[in-house]
């Protein structure tokens, strides 16, 4: 039932309504609202019960194993939520004077320092509000760099065909044309094709490493040399940073600019689709272009450290602002707290154990007869299984497996991404899942494979145990209903 179908005229959550409010106003009537916004009319208990019951219709990390590839669905530590909700942090206005900002500023500054160390870059800005906005900031900095050198001929961004859809969409938002280069059968970029693609028109390349194929791009140094020799810059999409945390740094691989997803690698909650946070890091030559605001500090003669905001006055060549205030400030804070909890050894163990878990899971799947898309390669923190044999011989698809997994109590892996592997499932267990969960998932896959062979309708009709069965997406798009209209009695 919708909340709108749930109320009674005149009912409300009485404790929440301001008391003794004067309705007098000096505003001219032409500015005033005469219509009534048809919002719910329910009690506080009805509100809490409705949304609590809605929450129970969700899969989540707290309730299920959620091995969604490329999304890094790891445990979100409650300590980080609690510390970020301390009154001093929650009540601080974004324009509070610096005398009432030293606590928050010190956290921003310290996280900037930590992320520089993790990525091997020279500068960090935490202001982008999501991975896609970090990408935008990164490519905008590449453009600002070329423009600053009066090099206006560079009109193309190169993207491997396995790239996440945000990469080409971002390049276009920055005014670039997109040129795709193919990926070889072993998951690495086709270097010869890349060499043929670069030239004086190349502004840069956007890459993920480990790639979206779940393998480490072994030719990264040759790729960097090829693009740099052509005068372009290298953009690193940090979607898969969890795999290499503490093991290899983008700055050392030759990247000039990157974004990170704090909601993946730094365990901030995904919140049902956001808020995320997508900080950017750059090497020396892009430092002047970082987006504002950032935090910096000064030491007085007496030794006290004071923090301040860096804005366009201090950084005149900045690509500017991406939000009215300080990005998703509270997410930045949670990521900082996560880094405080883990420390340098903990961060290193993240990269190691996420890789260990994924390789173990891939081996179990392979031993059980599932086809790995890149079976001769090491898995990184994730791996791809292709169901094209099942699709051909049993007429069941990767999507059918995904939907049936829901009946077994597991969230589905990422389906049909990357696009170049047919009938694929991209699986990422993360370092916070126990060996029992990993083995349980593989057992479920084996059971579903048996069903596919003997009673495929159990897959094709799945899920059976969820609040709804498969939904009619065509009807949803054709007979668009995106807001409830009250039926007049």
């Amino acid at each position: 039932m919708l909340i709108f179908e749930n109320g009674s005229k005149g009912r409300n959550a009485t404790s929440q309504i301001p008391q003794n409010v004067s309705e007098d106003t000096n505003l001219p009537s032409e500015f005033l609202r005469t219509s009534i916004a048809d919002l719910p009319e329910v009690s506080e208990l009805q509100t809490v019960r409705h949304f609590t019951n809605l929450s129970r219709k969700n899969f989540s990390i707290d309730t299920q194993f959620y091995p969604l590839g490329s999304c890094t669905m790891k445990y979100n530590p409650r300590g980080a939520q609690q510390a970020a909700s301390l009154p001093g942090f929650l009540s601080r206005h974004p324009f509070a004077p610096e005398s009432y900002s030293q606590g928050y500023l010190s956290c921003v500054y310290d996280l900037q320092q930590t992320l520089k160390e993790v990525t091997g870059m020279a500068g960090v800005s935490l202001s982008p509000m999501a991975g896609a906005q970090g990408e935008f900031a990164g490519v905008a900095m590449i453009k600002a760099y070329h423009d600053g050198r009066k090099d206006f001929e560079r009109t193309e961004i190169i993207v491997p065909e396995a790239a996440h859809g945000t990469n080409p969409a971002t390049a276009v938002m920055c005014g670039y044309k997109v040129k795709e280069v193919p990926v070889r059968a072993d998951g690495d970029v086709d270097l010869e094709a890349l060499k043929a693609a670069v030239g004086p028109q190349t502004a840069g390349i956007m890459m993920t490493n480990p790639s979206t194929c779940g393998v480490f791009e072994r030719q990264i140094e040759e790729i960097a040399k090829t693009v740099h020799d052509a005068g372009g810059l290298l953009y690193y999409d940090g979607a898969n940073l969890n795999a290499i945390l503490g093991k290899v740094r983008p700055g050392d691989m030759g990247f000039d600019v990157l974004h990170m997803n704090l909601h993946k690698t730094f365990a901030t909650p995904h919140g049902g689709g956001g808020p995320g946070s997508g900080p950017v890091a750059v090497g020396e030559r892009l430092l002047p272009y970082l987006p504002t605001p950032m935090a910096d500090c000064k030491k007085s003669e007496s030794g006290t450290v004071s923090y301040h905001w860096v804005d366009e006055k201090e950084l005149p060549e900045t690509i500017g602002r991406l939000s009215a205030f300080m990005g998703n400030a509270g997410i930045v804070l949670r990521a900082y707290i996560y880094a405080v909890l883990l420390g340098r050894d903990g961060l290193l163990r993240v990269g190691e154990n996420s890789t260990l878990s994924a390789n173990y899971m891939a081996k179990l799947m392979s031993d059980a007869g599932f086809k790995l898309a890149y079976e001769d390669r090491r898995a990184t923190h994730e791996f791809i299984v292709t169901m094209s044999k099942q699709a051909k011989e049993l007429d069941v698809t990767a999507m059918d497996f995904a939907k049936r997994l829901l009946d077994y109590g597991y969230h589905a892996p990422t389906t049909y991404f990357p696009l170049l592997v047919p009938e694929c499932l991209l699986i990422e267990p993360t370092e916070t899942e126990s060996i029992d969960e990993i083995e349980g998932f593989v057992k479920a896959m084996i059971a579903i494979q048996k069903e596919a062979e003997t009673s495929p309708e159990k897959l094709k009709g799945a899920p059976f145990t969820q609040p709804v069965r498969r939904l009619d997406d065509v009807k949803a798009a054709r007979e668009l209903d995106v807001a409830y209209q009250k039926v007049m009695e």
């Binding site: 909340i3 709108f4 959550a13 000096n26 505003l27 916004a37 048809d38 919002l39 506080e44 509100t47 809490v48 219709k57 969700n58 899969f59 990390i61 707290d62 979100n76 510390a83 974004p94 005398s99 009432y100 010190s106 520089k116 160390e117 999501a130 896609a132 990408e135 859809g165 945000t166 276009v172 938002m173 997109v178 093991k247 691989m253 919140g271 049902g272 808020p275 500017g320 602002r321 009215a324 205030f325 990005g327 400030a329 509270g330 804070l333 405080v340 909890l341 340098r344 154990n353 173990y360 829901l406 589905a412 498969r470 939904l471 009619d472 798009a477 007979e479 209903d481 995106v482 807001a483």
Partner: protein, 458 residues
């Protein structure tokens, strides 16, 4: 303390099954000379107790002041039930609802959110939210340029009374696409758009007009006249609005003869803490005919294969994961958790509660204005038509006065001198329903003392 469950035995078992000797062997595809050195610049990890000690000390440093700053982020009472509900693990730790059958909670909630935002703005369609009000405005500008069938122009007219940082964000996001932004000048006496200046823009072709209600100074604009003027000259009209104010003020869908085409704004007043500026959420609503140019996620109601009602992501053909370089935007998430909180907030308050909060804020604002009348060194610059913010001119440097007030535990407002030098020494002050009359008296005392101390220092 990395939250890793593996025991030594688990690790050994996994290595044996994989067939390697050590975890390091799993990284053997990375060239040896690229392997990272220990991250000595990062401190050792802390357990939760030690971490809480450090963070509590830091949070304490920023706590305890009485805040009269608004300028786009507003302090309202947040009912306890808002976050205790939104923080349920099933909302907090779910991801984008790609698997619709296992995400009906989030999907239905967003459908309800979309409905509420349509009601508040008086428009037909809402998306599932964007990052914040300012970046939402940038997306609305791009949307209007795509959607305007009468004009091929890549020029947009922004009122000078729109939040200066919103205008900066719009510029910084859209300028790479060859879009030009022109500014409608400000009437510095009335602190709203200079209507006399409109005619000089009539000969040019603009795709869209951006106006704010209330505007950055808290003043009400004549949105009816402006909306008609913009639409009569071929522009799509974008209204930047405070959703809380929309309980009292005519919503964008009712502006002028035909209503504004797009409404956008900052959702923070609807149950989100100030929290240093985020996470908040940007809302975007529009007329039905523009829906296919809308950026970001949209949730639709449909049926499952047994005919039962259900909710799903719809119109995905606009989005980056399908269209790649031809998508309406590169955005792939919304601000899900912030929207969850706002939806619970709007449900608790209802229209009546929202109206009462708006009226109480407005009333308290007028009360502070009256208390400031006649104070030496203070001139009220705002006209009488303000919502819950107003401008005062001081006879001294504003940033010094702000510091001197802060020393007394009062955050006096937003310093306008950096953005509107032409106004002189002006301060933007905000009052909401959370302030009592004695809070207002503290503001007046702190301001008087700051002006006196400032005078002594001079």
């Amino acid at each position: 303390m990395p939250f890793i469950p593996h025991t030594d035995q688990d690790v050994q078992k996994m290595l044996d099954v994989i067939g390697v000797d050590s975890i390091d062997d799993l990284f053997d595809e990375i060239p040896e000379h690229l392997r990272a050195k220990p991250m000595d610049g990062i401190p050792e990890g802390l357990n939760e107790m030690a971490m809480m000690r450090v963070l509590s000390e830091r949070a304490q440093q920023d706590d305890g002041a009485l805040c009269f700053i608004g300028a786009g982020a507003y302090e309202h009472h947040i009912p306890a039930a808002v976050w205790s509900t939104a923080m349920r693990g099933e909302f907090l730790t779910a991801y984008t609802p790609y698997q619709a059958e296992a995400s009906q909670g989030t999907l239905q909630l967003i459908y309800e959110y979309q409905t509420m935002m349509c009601q508040i703005t008086g428009l037909d369609v809402s998306n599932a939210s964007l990052y914040d009000g300012a970046s939402g405005l940038a997306e609305a500008v791009l949307m209007a340029i795509r959607a305007n069938r009468k004009s091929k122009s890549k020029k947009v007219l922004l009122a000078g009374s729109v939040h200066p940082l919103y205008r900066k964000v719009v510029n910084d996001i859209v300028s790479n696409q060859g879009i030009t932004l022109d500014t409608l000048p400000l009437n510095t006496q009335d602190l709203c758009i200079e209507h006399e200046a409109l005619s000089q823009f009539e000969s040019q072709d603009y795709a869209a007009l951006v106006i704010a209600q209330p505007n950055f100074f808290g003043t009400l604009e004549d949105v009816n006249t402006l909306t008609n003027w913009g639409q009569n000259h071929g522009m799509l009209v974008i209204g930047v609005v405070n959703p809380m104010a929309m309980a009292m003020l005519a919503p964008p869908g009712e502006w002028g003869d035909n209503g504004a085409d797009i409404a956008v704004g900052e959702g923070q007043p609807l149950g989100l803490p100030l929290a240093s500026g985020g996470p908040y959420f940007g809302f975007v609503c529009c007329k039905q005919k523009l829906v296919r140019q809308m950026p970001g996620r949209i949730i639709g109601r449909t049926v499952d294969l047994e005919g039962k009602e259900g909710f799903t992501l719809t119109l995905q053909a606009r989005e980056q994961h399908i269209r790649r370089s031809k998508a309406t935007s590169n955005i792939c998430t919304n601000q899900g958790l912030a929207v969850t909180a706002a939806t619970v907030y709007l449900t608790l308050l209802g229209f009546n509660g929202l109206l009462k909060v708006a009226q109480a804020s407005h009333h308290n604002t007028n009360l502070l204005v009256s208390k400031l009348q006649g104070i030496s060194g203070v001139t009220i610059r705002s006209p009488k038509t303000v919502f819950h913010e107003f401008v005062i001119e001081l006879d001294r440097n504003v940033s010094e006065v702000i510091e001197l007030m802060a020393e007394q535990g009062v955050l006096g407002g937003f310093d306008l001198t950096d953005y509107y030098a032409e106004l002189g020494n002006c301060l933007l002050v905000c009052v909401t329903e959370v302030k009592t009359e004695s809070d207002l008296d503290l503001f007046v005392d702190a301001l008087k003392r700051a002006l006196q101390e400032g005078a002594v220092k001079c």
